[in-house]
């Protein structure tokens, strides 16, 4: 027993020293969503600049915000979603960007230059953007799929085969929009209708899970609320799957990269932001994460199955229904949570 313990401890020591070795001056620590940073792109960056990069993952905007706010984190770059960006800025957690130092900010596509969550791009640059809509197996149901009715008033064919992602704010906002309200509504009539609609619809849902591309592709789940990039992956496995843009309104989101105010390697961080705004490098991220990036000219470096995908390139007729999700005020959030708890009691 003791021998084994010694061996283990020795091995552990050896391994832990190995982990902290291999650095050559430059360092950059990125804090990003899991499975969202192209390893090839990082390798290319390291090769070009000699900067040593670590990528650390977070699993939700709330975790990331909580972690950074507490301090002592050691990160340089963070990639929050658009609706959280104002919170980060207001709390003074992000460094102001200077376009002089990041010349490639000129590559940001027109549509993403002056956005409501970060006017004139003073703090963030685009990383990836996408939509939250519905996915339907058209061999099960071949009616209109561009509506939230898919999961809120489901046709008989889909009843009992629907999965809804457990994202409270997104689902609540979809329901509020469906009954004719605006996101983050505090209008009691709207909220009551939304609640009743959800309560009634829930009996037709089989799960509130992140779901897997596999489950849709194999036919275990026939429809659901899903993200566009994941829907495309599922369609590539099963042609019957199609992605719908609810005409009642659907959230558009953009995860945006920023430099932390207390970054220890701000210069390297600026170099990195400039690097990912290079169309070729932005395309590498898109190819890996399977979402669009908002950098002008990156399309020509992207695989063809993405530049033509109806999930990635929003069809013109569906564009008006999209809205940028905002962070709801505390009052709404508390009501949403209460309805959500009631729904899942």
């Amino acid at each position: 027993m003791r021998t084994t313990g010694l061996i283990l401890a020795a091995g552990a020591l050896a391994a832990s020293t190995a982990l902290s070795a291999a650095q050559d001056g430059g360092q950059l620590n990125i804090y990003n969503w899991g499975n969202y940073t192209s390893p090839e792109m990082i390798e290319k960056f390291e090769a070009e600049t000699g900067i040593n990069v670590t990528v650390t993952d977070f699993d939700s905007n709330d975790t990331a915000l909580t972690r950074i706010r507490a301090g002592g984190h050691g990160f340089d770059i963070v990639v929050p979603s658009n609706n959280y960006v104002p919170i980060w800025v207001e709390a003074g957690l992000l460094m102001e960007l200077d376009p002089e130092e990041i010349p490639n900010m000129a590559n940001i596509a027109e549509r993403w230059r002056d956005v409501e969550w970060d006017p004139n791009r003073t703090h963030t640059i685009p990383w990836q953007w996408g939509t939250t809509g519905v996915i339907v197996n058209t061999s099960v149901y071949d009616g209109d799929i561009n509506t939230s009715a898919i999961f809120l008033d489901p046709p008989d064919e889909l009843k009992g085969k629907i999965n809804v992602i457990p994202e409270m704010t997104d689902v609540m906002n979809l329901a509020v929009r469906y009954v004719g309200g605006e996101q983050c509504s505090t209008d009691r009539d709207v909220l009551r209708q939304a609640r009743d609609k959800l309560m009634e619809a829930k009996q037709h849902w089989i799960a509130l899970d992140y779901g897997t591309v596999d489950a849709y592709a194999a036919g275990d789940i026939a429809a659901g609320v899903y993200w566009n990039g994941a829907s495309m992956r599922a369609r590539l496995q099963n042609d019957d799957l199609a992605y719908g843009y609810p005409k009642e309104g659907y959230p558009v989101w953009m995860d945006s990269a920023a430099i932390l105010a207390d970054a220890q390697n701000p210069e390297n961080a600026k170099t990195f932001l400039n690097f990912v705004l290079e169309p070729e490098n932005a395309a590498m991220i898109s190819e890996f994460a399977r979402y669009a990036n908002g950098v002008e000219g990156s399309e020509e470096f992207m695989p063809e199955d993405m530049t033509t995908a109806p999930e990635i390139v929003v069809p013109a007729e569906h564009e008006p229904a999209g809205y940028f999700s905002v962070t709801c005020p505390a009052e709404t959030q508390q009501i949403y949570t209460q309805i959500w708890t009631e729904l899942l009691r």
Binding site: T63, L65, A330, T337
Partner: protein, 314 residues
């Protein structure tokens, strides 16, 4: 290194006595563990206690104003439409569901775990560690991927349903995934070693002569089991049930992946308050309520089962 110096006295308790010196070495021996626990587990929980009496921050965190609203919300809800106050039955439902599923899970784990531990304990001494390792090997794989593997086995188009259909036993797939059964199955799976290992540890040194004597006396295996074996392995059984039951109440990943998350479990409810719900005081108060319930259950359990202790060693 006080621990090393004091260890010799440890053996001294072979002759039980509870003098002053005896108590002193016991405190020294337990102190290092308590220090680590106080620094890296229990101590920081005081922060949670403080938070439960503050106001929720706009975007997570807290505002440093005293408030009992968090605790109020554990037990009562203000109706969002007509502002009337009613007991928070939704929270009650969720507490009850979590406790119920944890009980089922413990029971299921015991049904499988007891014979398994018994089987291992009755192997030849030199192969016992091998069997023991066999129980823990699956747990070297990651929890999330392991849970997805279970999903793969029980889903509609999965292994079990396809085999049953292939054999002609069923014609349509049995819906196992996204049910309470799936949660129970998954949790029993995840927590099985926590039941088997303590049981094994207490069985391994069973005095089989005693069993044989009992077998002569009672002449029934069931009665030997009930009257002799069970009392002897009780400490292991208690340890196992605690290790399964308590984490099962707060379980989080398994219910979500296998249960489909249609119904919240306590772990999810608390997570919701610290995450998207952005109500840390309520989350803190809910967690402390859980803590109090578990501590009382634990103390009651220990007191009610530890009376005959001591005599056993005589």
């Amino acid at each position: 290194m006080s621990a090393v110096e004091l260890a010799p006295h440890g053996a001294d308790t072979a002759k039980p006595k509870a003098g002053r010196g005896d108590i002193a070495w016991r405190w020294w021996l337990v102190a290092p563990a308590l220090v680590v626990l106080l620094l890296a587990a229990s101590g920081p929980l005081l922060i949670v206690l403080v938070y439960s009496f503050l106001e929720p921050g706009n975007f997570g965190g807290v505002i440093w104003n005293f408030s009992t609203e968090g605790w109020f919300q554990v037990f009562f809800t203000r109706d969002i439409f007509d502002e009337t106050v009613a007991p928070a039955t939704a929270h009650l439902d969720i507490f009850w569901r979590s406790i119920k599923l944890a009980l089922y899970t413990t029971f299921f784990a015991a049904i499988l775990g007891f014979p398994t531990a018994w089987f291992i304990a009755t192997r030849a001494p030199d192969v016992r560690p091998i069997w023991l390792f066999l129980v823990t090997i699956p747990f070297w794989t990651n929890l999330v991927i392991r849970t997805f593997a279970i999903q793969e086995v029980i889903r509609n188009e999965g292994l079990v349903n396809n085999v049953l259909r292939g054999l002609g036993i069923i014609s349509a797939p049995i819906q196992m995934l996204y049910t309470d059964f799936a949660i129970m199955l998954g949790m029993a799976y995840v927590f099985l070693p926590l039941m088997v290992l303590p049981l094994y540890a207490s069985m391994e040194k069973l005095d089989f002569k005693l069993l044989e004597a009992g077998y002569d006396l009672y002449a029934s295996r069931l009665r030997v089991l009930w009257h002799i074996v069970l009392p002897l392995v009780k400490p292991g059984f208690i340890a196992g049930s605690i290790l399964v039951f308590i984490p099962a109440i707060g379980a989080y990943v398994t219910p979500r992946i296998l249960g489909g998350g249609r119904n919240l479990m306590l772990g999810n409810l608390i997570e919701l308050q610290f995450g998207q719900g952005r109500n840390w005081p309520l989350g803190s108060a809910l967690a402390l309520t859980l803590l109090v319930i578990v501590v009382f259950a634990l103390l009651f359990y220990i007191r009610s089962t530890s009376q005959p202790e001591g005599q056993r060693h005589g």
